[in-house]
Homo-oligomer: 702 residues x 2
């Protein structure tokens, strides 16, 4: 990837043009204008020379080897051009040309054709339908963008080319520096995961930021993102979150938007930070690119104005950060250097008439305090405020520190020169306190997520063979849903506790079963054809004696037959009645991008009305299972309220882990749930009372 | 207020100075420099002339009348100066001088002294400890601010002077126009409510924005804000929301921060929009100042880029707005003017190579569609994009429309000239789609809140005399809490249903009572000294027969005596056992700023664990009571889930209204709750099973 796109020794522009204003001219111009040092070959059968370089009729006529081809010819010529690139030994093709998947059925076909050729010749492809690729340190601007961003620590990739142009235009005036700037286009080959992998060990890329609308291969993204976030922060904006937004995605780029819940889980499980807007994306990334890590949540604020200090404090608290509590040494140091009316506790208010020296004293003291993880310096341009001197002092004091210092010079005209100085010293500045705190919060979140251990997946000893046999039998019978007894068999094979249960084929067997289990019992009609047994009156709990068993056996069978005349009836299941406990629901759905998505919540109204549930992509580690349990709002109920004993969350976690293992072992499970899993007090475990399995249709075997 | 501060015919600056750099110089300079047309009198006993004007030793020596005095002398001279202002007949004093309430106990005393003088002479006061007052249309810049904002429709007031300086600095470069700009300082006299009232009918002020940390008189604010928001939008940033933020408030300005819940309720009940940051405050206010009202939630988007279109769509949906569905006429009109690949459904994607003419066609069609309430125009600077032409067209098409048009020209350098043109045409522009949508959402919220009827307060016929007698009796006995029987008496006086109940002084009376009520009954120890009866085992439900009554009578009395040897025991209360229903909690607390704060929620874990409750400031209208009930998350439970019948929400609303009336009638109730109020299915009402009242200590009578 490095050689193919970001650091090639030679670049051919296929479709290079002589006329300014044409894309094929713009690309060659950008390559030359922004100082690319390798060889550049314009390809155009109708030109001898373009921008002072000799032009070639075809890439095959280029004298030396070509690492990268930038393709700007009309879509219908792309297959042939790619074929020639293959013969020439090109490593990477940046296909700027449009008219592929985004343009309907013919475009999709054309894109497939192009990719066949690329694969045959082992050419990696960025695009088609993209703006191009910029690598500022090489330097190489292989795009038709109207400019070149300054060098800096941010590596940016975007699924939207238009967004690239807007961001470039904006970043140029903000002085935001990039290492890489890639427009991914249709992602026919190179996608987000590839670039993450490629930038993982690139020291120029200090922080990676992503604008995405949908992923092609969610599981690979997870795998790679998880590694990369251990080394450097990855921040993403994912759009198409809402139903209406997703419709807009599909109409525009043809990308399949995975469900929002799955993306949320994926970001959280991989440590990818999520920004809710492009503005926040850059707010965060500048802080990461410029400043050392924020190793905790304790922030000192230095301000020359009360109001903004309060606004920052509010924002800190709402964002889960804290005002640091200064040591007594810090207080002692602060006091003599500030006027009596100044607040020397956090936030340090150096008061409206503060000159730069008071800022110096306050910032130095705050940075020296071991209880402080980072400092936010707020400045409002008051009558005597020394904007530039203060900025210089902040820059000087922050240099070489292992704690981040963040600026909030509020205003524009008067504070402008100070902001420039901060920028020079790599101090990020935010016009308003809330945005500054937002950046600190992202830094703290990243630091914490990096401290967590990489997930370890436990494996329980289970009986896969039994499950395999059940599934095979079910499918051989042309079914996709499992009967009650089958579900029970599977749960047992995976070590999950279920109520004792005996299938009775007649009344006498039912009575004997109930007596051996012990009253009261539950009775359920046993039929593979009746899925929602309760709905037809096919389940009866709290059956208290043999007479009741006798009556109910007949009644349940009668009801089943009335419901479906030719239902296969295996008899009646007589079941231990699980004692009362807290009702839990655990479920799995298969997400098209990410695979099995595990859900956890409390049953009944908590899931149905309050939607108080949480998701993770399987497999999950024990830590992930625990955090699922702890993050629902109703978690308090499991910890025990009003004198109730706490519930056995360990047993819930075990259930989640075993289910996670099961759905990984058997990809044919497309849907399953346990509802309810009844959980008892700590140490007393949990029983899965009811479960439901749906299998995938068999892949066509022909 | 107009004449006293915003449109005076003459201004004296007391403490005017000859030396540039001094505040007393800056104020005179600002008044002159920014074109004030009235008379200006510098007051300084040591100067003959200041900035070309004759100076006077005292305001008493000024030849003509003086409407406004700007005071910048050191704090200790302010009382004398105010006394002279009074003699001179000054209407308004802007006290810029600091060293009052914010400076500790001596400052508080000095501020009181100054206000005594002001009241005696009927002088209104802004400040002390403020930046001053700017009125751009007069024009009058009676402040020491470093500049004068352009004229515009935004009237701004701020409790923080430093924030004023920052905002002024920022607004100048953004070209944001103001009608008024007031730094409120310590608010010794003029406060938020006064300015709202004064700006209510001022046509220059199209939108009023407020930065506040706390209010002095919450109820007056509510009353006035409610009127003003019917005429023009009021947007507030309230800081000091969190515990830590509030500490910062009190340490800085000495203002009492009311509880966050009360502010939230107040803003909602008055239609004041709340912004969560200064950035959003201005995002919203510019839209209100520039554009006609957004009369609905249906938005059309015109864009030349898919990605930003999706981002905007997501933001719309998350913000409760909708993509408008175009009429078939609009679709028919759109089609011929756009290329085949364009999306002619909403969002209208005019595609990356769109020139200004496509924007014109799309915007014109969208504006003409009756299903569209407002339009968002997104532009990314692509290769062929005509930034300035497009901006001109948007300005032209939006002019004279009764629907708002909002711009989102993304970028900075290339789109900058377009943004200037938009600004000239009063089209607000936002760099990113999320912020543009935020402004639209604020507009839609305002429109809706203005459509609601002003609250009408019902009055039920109640028996105030009984309540008065009970309270007097309780207080005369030196108690602040009410006994069970007393609480019941009050509930009945206010027409609230309670369980039938008979106080039994001995066993025989208890048995007779239970028989007349009918079994099962509840028995409760009756003692004014035992508040939490359940905790000591003093309550027994489900008492089934006379024998049980007999045993329990003795047991309850024994337990009460054991708990408190000298407890006054009135006997045992025998009560109808309310049938099962949904348990509701209704409570009132008195907020220091706003008075009685009414709470509603479902009882048990919903209030204790999930904190699923909602608040309003009393009195509440029927509509407000209904919205309280509907806005809790668990509202679904009251509507009936899983085949349950819906609960009698009418009865809950009635209870809320009666309680609201009760706490307004009797300000001595500082705390009360009904827990539980048991509510039955629709038409079957609700019964208040348990209640608790706490009265205020009697005001000292000496």
């Amino acid at each position: 990837m490095q050689r193919a796109f970001f650091n090639p020794q030679s670049v051919a522009v296929i479709g290079a043009a002589r006329e300014p204003g044409k894309l094929g001219y713009g690309v060659v111009d950008n390559i030359l204008r922004y100082g690319y040092c390798g060889k550049v070959y314009p390809i155009n059968p109708k030109a001898d020379e373009i921008l002072g370089l000799p032009a070639y009729a075809s890439i095959l006529q280029v004298p030396g080897p070509v690492d990268t081809a930038v393709i700007v010819v009309p879509n219908r010529f792309v297959p042939q051009v790619m074929e020639e690139c293959g013969q020439k030994g090109v490593r990477g093709a940046i296909i700027i040309s449009a008219g592929f998947r985004e343009a309907g059925i013919d475009g999709i076909r054309l894109e497939h054709q192009v990719m066949e050729i690329a694969k045959k010749h082992h050419i990696r492809v960025i695009g088609p339908n993209c703006l191009g690729v910029i690598s500022t340190f090489t330097p190489l601007n292989a795009s038709f963008a109207a400019g070149m961003p300054p060098r800096g620590g941010i590596a940016f990739m975007s699924q939207s080319g238009a967004l690239c142009t807007a961001i470039l235009d904006w970043a140029l005036s903000q002085g935001i520096g990039f290492s890489h700037f890639v427009s991914l286009g249709n992602k026919a080959d190179v996608n987000e995961a590839d670039l993450l992998e490629s930038w993982k060990d690139d020291k120029d890329a200090r922080v990676i930021i992503v604008y995405m609308e949908g992923l092609n291969d969610g599981r690979r993204f997870i795998e790679i993102a998880r590694e990369v976030t251990r080394i450097k922060p990855v921040i993403a904006v994912k759009s198409g979150n809402t139903a209406a937004g997703s419709r807009a995605v599909s109409s525009h780029t043809g990308s399949l938007a995975g469900s929002e819940r799955a993306y949320e889980a994926a970001f959280r499980q991989t440590g990818v930070l999520r920004a809710d807007s492009i503005e926040h994306l850059f707010d965060y990334s500048v802080a990461f690119a410029y400043q050392p890590p924020l190793r905790g949540r304790n922030i000192a604020i230095v301000t020359n104005a009360g109001g903004p200090g309060i606004m920052a404090t509010d924002a800190l608290e709402q964002g889960g950060l804290k005002l640091a509590t200064f040591t007594s040494e810090t207080i002692e140091t602060l006091r003599p250097g500030l006027p009596a009316a100044a607040n020397i506790y956090n936030p340090i208010d150096v008061i409206g008439d503060a000159l730069a020296d008071r800022y110096e004293h306050a910032l130095k003291s705050a940075l020296a305090d071991p209880n402080v993880n980072g400092v936010l310096v707020i400045l409002t341009p008051q009558v005597y405020t020394q904007v530039e001197e203060t900025a210089e002092i902040i820059g000087r004091l922050a240099a070489g520190q292992d704690k981040p210092v963040i600026g909030c010079f509020m205003g524009e005209q008067r504070v402008g020169p100070g902001v420039k100085i901060l920028n020079k010293h790599q101090i990020p500045n935010y016009t308003f306190p809330e945005r500054a705190v937002g950046a600190l919060r992202a830094m703290a979140d990243y630091w914490e997520s990096r401290q967590t251990e990489p997930p370890k997946y436990e494996r329980f000893e289970v009986d896969q063979q039994t499950v395999r046999k059940v599934f095979d039998r079910v499918r051989s019978e042309g079914r996709l849903t499992l009967g009650d007894a089958e579900s029970r068999e599977i749960m047992q094979a995976y070590g999950l506790r279920i109520p004792r249960s005996i299938l009775a084929k007649n009344v006498d067997e039912a009575i004997a079963a109930a007596e051996s289990i012990g009253f009261p019992v539950v009775m359920k009609i046993a039929s593979p054809d009746i899925l929602h047994k309760s709905d037809i009156g096919g389940v009866r709990v709290n059956v208290r004696d043999s007479d009741q068993v006798r009556d109910l056996f007949d009644l349940l069978v009668y009801r089943a037959q009335r419901y479906m005349e030719d239902a296969r009836i295996w008899g009646v299941l007589v079941q231990e009645m699980a004692p009362k406990g807290k009702e839990i629901i655990i479920g799995v759905n298969r997400d098209p991008q990410f695979g099995p998505l595990l859900m956890f919540g409390l049953g009944g109204i908590y899931v149905e009305v309050l939607k108080d549930v949480t998701f993770r992509i399987a497999p999950v580690s024990r830590q992930e299972a625990s955090s699922m349990i702890e993050e629902i709002r109703a978690y308090h109920l499991l910890r025990g309220v009003r004198g109730e004993p706490p519930s056995d969350v360990q047993a819930i976690a075990d259930t989640l882990l075993r289910i996670s293992q099961m759905v990984m072992d058997f990809p044919e499970i497309v849907e399953m749930d346990i509802n309810p899993l009844v959980v008892y007090e700590t140490g007393k475990g949990a029983i899965a009372v009811d479960m439901r399995f749906v299998l995938k249709e068999k892949e066509s075997e022909g």
